[in-house]
Amino acid sequence: MSGAADRPAAAAGGYAELHCLSNFTFLRGASHPQELVARAAALGYHALALTDECSLSGVVRAHVAAKEHGLHLIIGAELRLQCGLHLVVLATDRHGYGRLCRLITLGRRAAHKGEYHLTREDLAATLEHCLLLWLPAEPPQAEQARWLARQFPGAVWIAVELLRGGADRAQLEALRRIGCAAALPLVASGDVHMHVRARRRLQDALTAVRLNVPVAEAGWNLYPNGERYLREPERLAKLYPPELIAETARIAARCTFSLDELRYEYPRELVPAGETPARHLRRLTEEGAQRRWPEGIPPAERAALEHELALIAELGYEPYFLTVHDLVDFARRRGIVCQGRGSAANSRVCYCLGVTAVDPRRGAGLLFERFISRERNEPPDIDIDFEHERREEVIQYVYAKYGRERAALAATVIQYRSRSALRDLGRVFGFEAAACDRLARVMQWWDGSEALAERLRAAGFDPESPPLTQLVPLARELLAFPGFPRHLSQHVGGLVISAGRLDELVPIENAAMPERTVVQWDKDDLDALGLLKVDVLALGMLTALRKAIDLVNALRGTRHALGSLPAEDPAVYQMISRADTVGVFQIESRAQMAMLPRLKPRCYYDLVIEVAIVRPGPIQGDMVHPYLRRRQGREPIEYPSEAVESVLRRTLGVPIFQEQVMQLAMVAAGFTPGQADQLRRAMGAWKRSGGIGHFRPMLLEGMAARGYASEFAERVYRQMMGFGDYGFPESHAASFALLVYDSAWLKCHEPAAFTAALLNSQPMGFYAPAQLVRDARAHGVEVRAVDVEASEWDCTLERSAAAQPALRLGLRLVKGLSRAGAARLTETRAAGPFTTLTDLARRTGLRRTDLEALAAAGALAGLSGNRHLAFWDVAGVERPLPLEAANMPTAADASAPAADAARPLIGAPSEAQSIVADYASLGLTLGRHPLALLREGLHGRGVRRAEEVCARPEGSAVRTAGIVLMRQRPGSAGGVTFITLEDESGQVNVIVWERTARAYREALLGARLLEVHGRLQHAEGVTHLIARRLFDRTGLLGALATHSRDFH
């Protein structure tokens, strides 16, 4: 042993790095956990401890990588206490790990998001079964060592981190003396911040980002050199005495804990005393089945139910179903509308429990294995949508029921995107804020394919200049796969609930939102360790549907409910087939609207297909056109076998859904359900893990063995590849199609109520209030203006001579009006109508900003007249002093007539000014479309109205202009940008190819009023304008407000 130092190689295997930060110590660590593990394994490290600062966010990734590389991974954390004590805590076993989790939770919950707060008392009270490495300050404070030695006898080491500061030997000697005095052993460690020293620049840059200063001003906060990497054992052996290196291995040997030991248990309390979870679930399922099939359970469904219950029992998933049922039950009791989405609709048990709503008899082929499979060994995943305005109640119910140490939201790791990376790095190099924004904008829609240098030059940067030659490589490092973490955020709705203490499984911290707590692991981490997660999601359409049905029931005296509207109404399908679907769930998008006249849905199942087919997967897998051709009878439908026919008959022989691909693999290639599910997952992970290549031989051979032509087999394989990330489960489409039908029914039969509900649920959906109102008026709904004498907070329905009630716009549309002010207004009005504005102001006591908001909205028209006079009156309202307001109402009265008496000689606003003011305050106008006012000038330049454009023949060159409603650049569309323009006569759909987009980038991205010159294309009832040239005409809109008064 004595010669070990002379022969470094001998010591190589014996080193375990016990102090190592990954990039989950945000803006300090410069390497991914996976990179650290891989590098440590390659260097032949004995073990690696991942010790992010007060965080275990990176450990699951490290754990998965360590299993792959056969490296001993130790779980730990670096902590800095309030008193300045700095140390590393390592978990030795499951108990110690739980204690570490609790300690981190304690520190994180006591501080704001992103920070922590721990004291010596916390440490002493919480830690058990852990080993501690003391990280001495400069100069070392022996008192800290003595305190640690006293508190944790036999479990404390002094970490000696020799980083070539020039006085390593003196440092070692000083620590030796302290070690002798306090009877603490010394151990080598490296304060690792990166896996290779090449990350030094990135580490410096991250430091500057953390301090929010340019790197040139980061000063002493930058490390003097790049020694904080995973150093080669030979180098370490030259730096450290051999006994310090040997000590690392001894510590590693005591840390035997692995994340594999975590045993997650479902919550148990939902089972009544004396019941077993299985019996309880069966009882609830049977009760539900009675409701779903009042005339008796069909034999096929009974068999399917029994199959499901058996598999659930076998895998022990009953508590999960009971947990989800409890949430849904709570929501129903509170009157919160909810509906399961995703693969859970494959389950009859979920259907019976009321979690999902897809009737198995309505045509969709439900495949339970898509939901739960024996082979997958992964908990089922149920996603439930709730009304978006009331979801918080459900989340708080979970916290209240299970307690904050047993329930929390899943985390989402926010990673650097091109914009954020460039903005941060711009600041690192000392660019002005404006230049940082400009730099970040350079990257908008940049996918790395085209020359970055060109873009930079176009934005006024010199790509050859020194800061940029250094910045760009750093940006590439931040943006390289798998995404550099920036901070932790909360998942949109994934709740984790456990039987025991959740904070002994994983640390919990505060989210930015009050009353929310988040575990330190994201969705993938939870999946990898098999933790239960319920996705409690928010869906705006559920809110809108509930409100619309409430309005209809109040208006007509009906008792409609979600899912019980009259089914399969031909009028509804006729409306859908005309693509008259503004506001309808899912099928209101432009791509969907383009498909509707071609597909012409006639029944519920057609809607299921419609929802799923306009997706990147089917489009890229070339399934859309074959399906449409067969549907229109222009292509024969053939099946290679009866088995295949049974799978594909409902989609005319074209596989559209994930479930069909799985079934196809099962019936045609002999896959087991579990294998088929693995295939589906491989399709989903296509980009990340090399795709489905290794299934190919199995698939082709299986199909050959069953007598299928190799050409058919190849086509199926190609289609699977095309599915990629975007395949849509049939169950999900089936759930969504229910909401499609319900919203379409309401739009068709009760457009006023439907529009009111949509407006009252904003923000949601695809269209802004302006388009919703325009569409409602086009369908004959009378829309009445916002008015202080009639409007409520919400939009309401008013009596009208027509079949449809009139829609009264609500005060909620008024920009700048406070909710409290609106409430006071409507309450006061209930006591008697307002006579004048002064009367209104005096009785409501509204703040001036509220009054001005009402004047700006034109809501005072009934009291004051036009907007000019309304503003004059509002400006004249005297604010009585608080005392006067209470005691001397006459004082306000006395001053009022004086203000009101002399009406000023002011002209009324012009039409254009009113329209501009309407948009500014309400986001919509009941007057003419702004383009109508500009029409004369546009017409002179040959710019035609949307109506005229769409009537022109195929291939004609046209010019049109309109307000930009939508600007989309789907990742799947190969660089094509879709724009929807609106003028007074309708909408035009514009397609901008990538080359045109690049040439007219400024206009494409910046214009609110866009003029397009291009060529017309008609295909199957859908019209597109292929853009050749684009011009930003936004200036004309601004001129409307200012110039118009010069032309009387």
Binding site: R164, G165, G219, I906
Partner: protein, 471 residues
Amino acid sequence: MRAPKTLDLFAPERLPRRAVRPPVHPVQPRGTPERPARLSQAPLWLAAHLPQMTQASDPVVSRALHSLAVRAQRFTPRVSLAPPDAVLLEVRSSLHLFGGVDGLRRAVAGECAALGQPAILAFAPSASAALAGTRAGQAFTVLEAGQLAGALAALPLAALRWPPQQIERLTRIGVHTVGAALRLPRAGFAQRFGAAQLAALDQLTGRAADPRERFEAPLRFRRRRELPCESDSHALLAATLHSLLEELSRFLSARQCGVLALECRLWHRQAAPSGCVLRFSAPLADAARLAALLEERLHALTLPEPVRACELRAGWPVPQPMQTGGLWQPGERGGLAAAPGVELIERLRARLGPEALETLTLVADRRPEAAWRAGPPAPASDAGPQAAPCAVHRPLWLLPAPRLLRQRGGLPRWRGALRLEGEPERIETGWWDGREVARDYYTARDGHGRRLWLFRERPPPHHWFLHGVYG
């Protein structure tokens, strides 16, 4: 008959007489009035607007305005500044001296052109009206109050330079022009927009007086004093200068100003005047301190001949921050001299010349050559960066640039073999500004026992450099 409340503001026959009466003219106009007395006494304002001037705080702007005001004093004694972009001249009495309106317009335009400033000129009976007109780009000539209404009506509100919120509020009630604002009911206007704004409107139409502060060219101190006899006595010179300095000090303190530069000239019988120029880092007004500094320089001066007279020429007065005097004089009962650092710096600069003095400051940078900086002297402050938190002592003397060393057998040599001591300190940083370093620093001893600071470059070919010498 309309109610007084909605009175049309500029119907001339309703203008109260008191409003037309001008402030008392300080200088009697020469010559006989050409017009009836009532009209000739009504003021006539000429506004000269310089559209290029926008920022009042810009020294270029204030200088241009100042120069124009000085030149304008040749036309009338009543000149006012309207920063940032205009000068006002009351010219009623000057009209006949400069060829009437046209002649005056040409003459003033000529002055502006001489300053290289294109200008817009307008005449109006009210200063604010003339100003608003030029600011809206209207070079109108309105000689009588009665014509004002028509001239003002079309002006955009922005020409009034009112606070943006007021303009915004008026715009919202549909008022975009001055004319529309004037048509609003007076009481309602005052209630909504404030009495100050109504007063501004009244000044615009001449309904209310519009007093303007008269421009006075600031003065520079310049005094010459003959000595009783030609003398080269230092004491006599000092005494004379001291009394001059006391005058300067009084001049400055009356204006709450100090000077940044002071020239002292000494006149001789034959030789050219000698003397010196003092420059200060902060405005000075105190006679004793000025005298002390001047004396430092005079001591160093060689007189070519005896002195006949001395003269002090001070720079422009600069506003001086107010200072609190101590209760006790310096040295008295623990009384402190104000900012002793400043005084020492002034004294050293006075004695050695302004360029001779530099201060070293620390810079938070790991690179030894970038860890300090020389700069102009400033009073010492505690807020500077701390010294490098490095474990190794660095030498006080750094070479201006590291010197490449020859090496033998991988070891550096400088005037003989060097012996390396201790362990290396590794510095790798500075990549962001093109002066990246990656070095291992060592201390070494040469043959004479001197301690040197060397480094070896980390990238190949691993050259050795000498960077510093320990004292």
